[in-house]
Symmetry: C2
Subunit: 261 residues, 2 copies
């Protein structure tokens, strides 16, 4: 299985998710293809959430938004949003209550699916340009932190931005900014560089999400807006009901990263 | 009045609109500042319209979207959407019924205001780079055409794109593309160049909106996505109620064109 999934095309990965044969992390799979964060909210909150994304494009870069009740995204041919993600999180009143591998039993005609860009796209670009990423080398999840950067609120949605941090060699920081700036639809350029206290982060060794990663003497901590932000905001805003992908288990689309430049 | 309005700052122009002292076209006013198209729809259609804009960013580039009932945009300090535009169009079931200079009597708590980028921003940039625009020199409205380019539909909103056409010297076309491509938030690069039939336009001398403009032998017709599209779509979609700015009478904001690069 491991060998076949590593070389699988997007549609094959989605089919393996659908049958339950694959329920793992999608990092490193379907190289070159866009993977997306998923947020599903009831129609009565869809305007607020869409407006929140429109006002906060760095943490919430929209790839596709579906009509109420629709689970067939255009960016992934033949896909079913309810089955083709390796794992889901169901939240009720801001509390994680269930983690199913299939959400057909939860589906309602008033649910609206939002697919948001994910950092895997720009990480691919950084690595292709010779900028190593320690969490990838260590096979851990990227370190993520709550910050003091307020997002622009929208309706009932309000809260601060979550950022991901990658240690980058000082000599490479300028290039890392330029490379990721080319991908505004997948978080774009960093939001902050080199001074965690400026974001209200007291201790880099204690991330709020993901795994800590050591910082070397010749490296700066570089912070990008993170796709966990909308999930964190939905929790804070105590949405009565929402469904997200499970962390690290993304929807693999048919879009190429290069189309996102 | 003409002299003072020509040199007026954005807040002064808005104040003159508010008192009724100015109700004219805003082309050429407040040079260097962003002017916006306006669309106001009831909250029950706001998700569909926001989704339509998200799916069609070239004709519908969002500058700001307000909360339901709010008429104080952040991009224009102290402004009131109900009074600070020189003129408005009220549509009922897709039919233009009234053209008031003030919409306070029409305001409702469920109305949602959308402000969309306008071509004045990129026209400024073109002229600054030495590319003359005939409709500006002739002091006429730009020529606009319905096309066969289908917009991505969203909910009840569906229809084809409207484009504006500017004759550009063949030697300048490449530069005009590059200059306007820098402004994706105000329609961006052209959608079509040189072949009106390819857009389903039979006769350039008969625009669907605005005024015809002659084309010289050494010029190509260059077509940009046009901010009239959302109004045209709202008409086609027979929205029960919506309010737009009156053609050519834009909201003058405090945003600088240069912030939009």
């Amino acid at each position: 299985m491991n060998i076949s999934i590593q070389s699988a095309e997007p549609a094959e990965i989605r089919a393996l998710c659908r049958t339950g044969a694959f329920a793992g992390q999608t990092a490193g799979l379907a190289n070159g293809y866009v993977q997306t964060n998923l947020m599903i909210v009831p129609a009565e909150y869809a305007f607020d959430f869409l407006l929140f994304c429109q006002r906060n494009p760095q943490p919430c870069p929209l790839v596709e938004v579906l009509e109420p009740g629709c689970f067939a995204p255009a960016c992934a041919k033949g896909a079913d949003l309810r089955t083709d993600v390796p794992g889901y999180c169901v939240y009720r009143n801001g509390v994680l209550t269930e983690q199913p591998e299939d959400i057909r039993a939860y589906w309602r005609d008033d649910l609206v699916g939002f697919m948001l860009g994910c950092s895997f796209s720009f990480e691919n670009a950084l690595m292709r340009e010779g900028i190593a990423l320690r969490h990838v080398d260590q096979k851990t999840n990227v370190a993520m932190y709550k910050t003091n950067l307020a997002c622009h609120s929208a309706g009932c949605m309000r809260g601060n931005m979550v950022v991901s941090m990658r240690p980058i060699k000082a000599a490479d920081v300028s290039r890392a900014v330029q490379i990721t700036a080319r991908y505004p639809r997948v978080h774009g350029a960093p939001v902050h560089i080199g001074f965690p206290q400026g974001l209200g982060i007291a201790d880099l060794s204690k991330p709020d999400f993901g795994d800590p990663v050591p910082l070397m003497d010749d490296e700066l901590p570089v912070f990008w807006a993170c796709g966990v932000t909308p999930q964190y905001i939905a929790e804070l805003s105590k949405l009565p009901f929402c469904i997200t992908h499970s962390p690290g288990k993304m929807l693999v689309t048919d879009l190429k990263n290069e189309e996102f430049v």
